[in-house]
Every structure is written in structure tokens, then in C-alpha cells.
């Protein structure tokens, strides 16, 4: 796949493999149960949304650690249909090396080469094929200690804006991707699904590469969301982080409840355990941020969602990750720069399911 001229920004390619690499491998001798790492890619196309998550989770008890590589793939169209699956792989079918950015899980891979991410996915259980090149528009940024609770934290590497080129095929329907906004991050740390935390996260991307701004929103609260541990809105301008609003800089409002006639849950069998279509997904999240003369207003309007169901580390119970797509309006000013665009949003709400 050849990138068009408009997809190029002069970013030092060596930044990526030195910032974005696996911290755990399937046969790491020092891995403890509870360690988790994933490499996540989102594409916010004009007529579809795609999420691909390559993960490695260390389960088990005591000194006996069991590593599970997984690919979670979710594909949602503008008309409200979703497809995808969660697929686990044997260690024999997995190639991940500590210190390297690449991952191969069966027929699926995410590699970094020639200053772009090359992602291929073909879940064995679904008629889906993905072959995309993702060209970074921003430099990678690392947050080394994102607190989830008093005892748990996660590390975060983010490349918030890439442009996707390639092809997605689903059930015989082909989507040519010429220049779609995309997002990539990596998370790793020792924490438990079903731990004492909940999170909201969203990537807000412009439709075209000529728009210099992109944003990431996050809020971490306690498990019951009665208290907020941290909240932030980070703005990037072209390659660099430009402004971070944090804590009391932000005012956040949830409006309405998003209801769907049918909710896709992955793995599908989880629908038997979490029946019904209720989910505490708001119709909108409105964020206003002020500080030192800067101000930004962000309205995220959600259209649709699917859920990924993850067993809690401790028996019994589940965590649901609501993967939400929608539209975003951004308006404001940072320094002398005006911020204004209408774009796309993908959000994730991590809430305990039981």
C-alpha cells in the first residue's frame, strides 16, 4: 500500500520502536499473574469503525503463570451492524518478543516498519479480513504511571493520530480505505479486571489530515464511579502534545442514555450471562476545560456501541468494555491558536458488570 503525499509528516521513525514495544513475551520468566499488556488500533472510517486489540494476559495463581494471547476485533458500520470476535491463541501460534514492537497471533499481525504500522487480521471464526497501513501523524508519548486505584496503575504509550490506508473486507463487502483517521496505544501493567476502578476514555480525531488538532479524553474513577481519581483532556497540535487540561480544569457532564435494540457482546456466549440490552452508555459526554486563559469545549455524541466482556481476575464476575462510536464537536482556544473542528470519536467505558 502506497501512502499518498498528504499522509506524510516528518517524524523520526526511530521514535516508535524505542517507545512502543512489548514489555512481556509469552515465555518471559519474570512475568507474574495479573500482568496485562495490549497493543490497540482504532480506525474511524467515514462509513465504518474498526478496533483491533492484540493482547497478552498473564493469568494463573501463585508461581504458576498462564499466558493467553488474544485478538479482539470489532467492526461497526454506519447502519448499526456490528461484527467481530475474541480469539485466543496458543503460545505456539504466537510470536512476541520483549523489546520489539511486533506481534503475530496466528494469521494476524501488527508490525512496525518503514515508519508505519502494518496490521493484518483475519479471525478464524468470522468472514473478516483487514490489511491496513497506519501512518503516524504524531510522535509517541508515554505516561509511565496512570493510577487506577490505590494499589494499581497502568502505563500508557499513545500515538493519537495516524492515517489508515488499505482494505477491510467483511462478509464479502469491501471497504477501500484511502485516508481514514486512526489511533494507536499500548497499555501495560499489573492490575486486575474487576479491580477497584472504572474508566472512560475517548479518542477524538479530525476527518482530514489538514486539521492539526486531535484530542484524547480520559477519566478514571473508583469501581462504583462515585469518586474521580483523575480526569484529563489532552490536545495534540500536529506532531506534538500541545495542552493538557487536568483535574479541576475539567467539567464533565453525561447526558441521556444510549439504547439499542440489540447489543453485540463478545465473546458471543457472554450474552447468556449478561442478558438484555441495558448498558449505562450516555448519549452524550460534554467536557469543558479551562485553564490559564485556554478553553476548550468538547461534545461527544454517541451513535452506537458493542461490548467486550472480560472475566474478572478473581472468580466470579465480569467487566464490560463498552466500545462506542460517534461524532465530536470541538471548539476553543489554546494560546493564540483557535481549535475548531467536527470529527469522529471512539470511546470506551470500562464498567464492572457483576
Amino acid at each position: 500500500m502506497t501512502p499518498s503525499v498528504t499522509l506524510k509528516r516528518s517524524i523520526d521513525a526511530t521514535l516508535f520502536p524505542t517507545a512502543d514495544f512489548w514489555h512481556m513475551a509469552p515465555h518471559s520468566p519474570h512475568t507474574r499473574p495479573g500482568f496485562k499488556e495490549w497493543s490497540h488500533f482504532s480506525v474511524l472510517g467515514a462509513d465504518f469503525d474498526l478496533l483491533m486489540n492484540f493482547s497478552l494476559m498473564a493469568g494463573g495463581q501463585g508461581a504458576k503463570t498462564r499466558m493467553t494471547p488474544r485478538l479482539t476485533l470489532l467492526f461497526g458500520t454506519a447502519d448499526g451492524s456490528w461484527d467481530g470476535d475474541v480469539e485466543s491463541f496458543s503460545l505456539a501460534d504466537t510470536t512476541i518478543f520483549e523489546g520489539q514492537p511486533d506481534a503475530t497471533l496466528g494469521r494476524n499481525s501488527a508490525r512496525f516498519a518503514n515508519c508505519r504500522y502494518c496490521v493484518e487480521a483475519a479471525p478464524s471464526t468470522r468472514d473478516i479480513f483487514v490489511a491496513l497501513d497506519l501512518h503516524p501523524m504524531t510522535r509517541p508519548v508515554i505516561a509511565n504511571n496512570v493510577r487506577l486505584s490505590d494499589a494499581e496503575s497502568v502505563r500508557w504509550m499513545v500515538v493519537p493520530h495516524l492515517r489508515a490506508v488499505g482494505e477491510v473486507s467483511i462478509a464479502g463487502c469491501r471497504y477501500q480505505v484511502a485516508d481514514a483517521p486512526a489511533y494507536h496505544d499500548r497499555n501495560w501493567g499489573q492490575f486486575a479486571w474487576g479491580g477497584a476502578y472504572a474508566w472512560e476514555w475517548a479518542t477524538i480525531l479530525p476527518p482530514g489530515v489538514d486539521q492539526p488538532w486531535c484530542l484524547v479524553y480520559s477519566r478514571i474513577g473508583n469501581r462504583y464511579r462515585g469518586a474521580t481519581l483523575s480526569q484529563s483532556l489532552i490536545l495534540w497540535r500536529r506532531e506534538f502534545p500541545s495542552r493538557k487540561f487536568y483535574g479541576r480544569d475539567l467539567s464533565i457532564t453525561h447526558q441521556g442514555m444510549l439504547r439499542r435494540d440489540r447489543v453485540l457482546r463478545l465473546p458471543r456466549v457472554a450474552s447468556l450471562l449478561i442478558p438484555g440490552k441495558a448498558a449505562d452508555v450516555p448519549r452524550e459526554i460534554i467536557v469543558t476545560a479551562h485553564g490559564y486563559g485556554d478553553e476548550v469545549a468538547l461534545r461527544m455524541s454517541f451513535d452506537d456501541f458493542a461490548q467486550v466482556v472480560v472475566p474478572n481476575d478473581r472468580w466470579p464476575g465480569f467487566t464490560t468494555l463498552c466500545e462506542i462510536k460517534g461524532r465530536a464537536e470541538v471548539a476553543g482556544r489554546v494560546g493564540d491558536e483557535r481549535v475548531a473542528f467536527e470529527g469522529r470519536v471512539q470511546a470506551e467505558l470500562n464498567h464492572a458488570a457483576g
Partner: protein, 133 residues
């Protein structure tokens, strides 16, 4: 394929849960207690009960506490999320016969079994094999 495939899947999945998710297996054994459930899959009937330290699946049916009848299409629709348990029962695609107490107990055990199955790393492969068989 012979309908007994379901019982092969059931036996294998219980064995994997016992081995890989012992917390789930303990909870399942507690929930089942001495319940004997007659399962009729595609017309083939077996009774399942827990005899320490393992599950026994046998052809006799006279001592069963309840009966649950279904076919492969229902199981595939359930595991693919196309059919809810509630709809399967209300539409009588999945038929349960027994006292309210035993049905309630079996339903509780079934939910624990399903949660154990989701937590079992090899479950997707087993489900896929059953779906394709």
C-alpha cells in the same frame, strides 16, 4: 454427525473447566449438589451428575430430577448470541421439565458452567469444533 457429539463436548468442557478454572468447577459442583439432570440433545438422552471426583454421564434416565431437551441449532444460536436463554425457553425451543426448585438450581449451575467456559482458554476452539461438527 451423531447427536452424541454434544455429550463429547460437554465432557471435554467440564474436564477443561476442572483443570483450568478450578474456582468455577468448585462453584459448579456446589451448585449441582446431588442434582441429576437428564439432557436430551437431538433426541439422544444422557443423565449427568457429579460423583466425586468426576462427572458421570450415563444412559439411564429413571432417577433424573429434571429433563432439559434441545438440539444443535439451539445450542449454536445460544453460543452465537442470536438467541437468549429467555427466548429459548419461552419459545419452547429449549424445554425444561421438573420442579421449580430443580429448574432454578439447574439454571444457576448452567450460568456457572457458562462463566467457567468463558474463562477456559481452550473454550473458543471447543465451541468452534462443536459448531462445525
Amino acid at each position: 454427525m451423531p447427536p452424541a457429539d454434544f455429550f463429547v463436548f460437554l465432557r471435554n468442557s467440564l474436564s477443561r473447566i476442572a483443570h483450568e478454572v478450578p474456582d468455577a468447577h468448585r462453584a459448579l459442583v456446589d451448585a449441582m449438589g446431588n442434582l441429576r439432570a437428564r439432557l436430551v440433545a437431538d433426541g439422544a438422552a444422557r443423565t449427568i451428575r457429579f460423583d466425586f471426583p468426576d462427572w458421570t454421564i450415563y444412559a439411564g434416565a429413571g432417577d433424573a430430577d429434571l429433563e432439559v431437551a434441545f438440539d444443535r441449532a439451539i445450542i449454536v444460536d445460544l453460543i452465537d448470541g442470536r438467541l437468549t436463554m429467555e427466548d429459548a425457553i419461552y419459545q419452547e425451543r429449549l424445554r425444561m421439565r421438573g420442579s421449580v426448585e430443580t429448574i432454578e438450581r439447574f439454571h444457576g449451575a448452567l450460568l456457572i458452567y457458562l462463566e467457567g467456559l468463558i474463562r477456559t482458554p481452550g473454550a473458543p476452539v471447543m465451541l468452534e469444533s462443536y459448531r462445525k461438527a
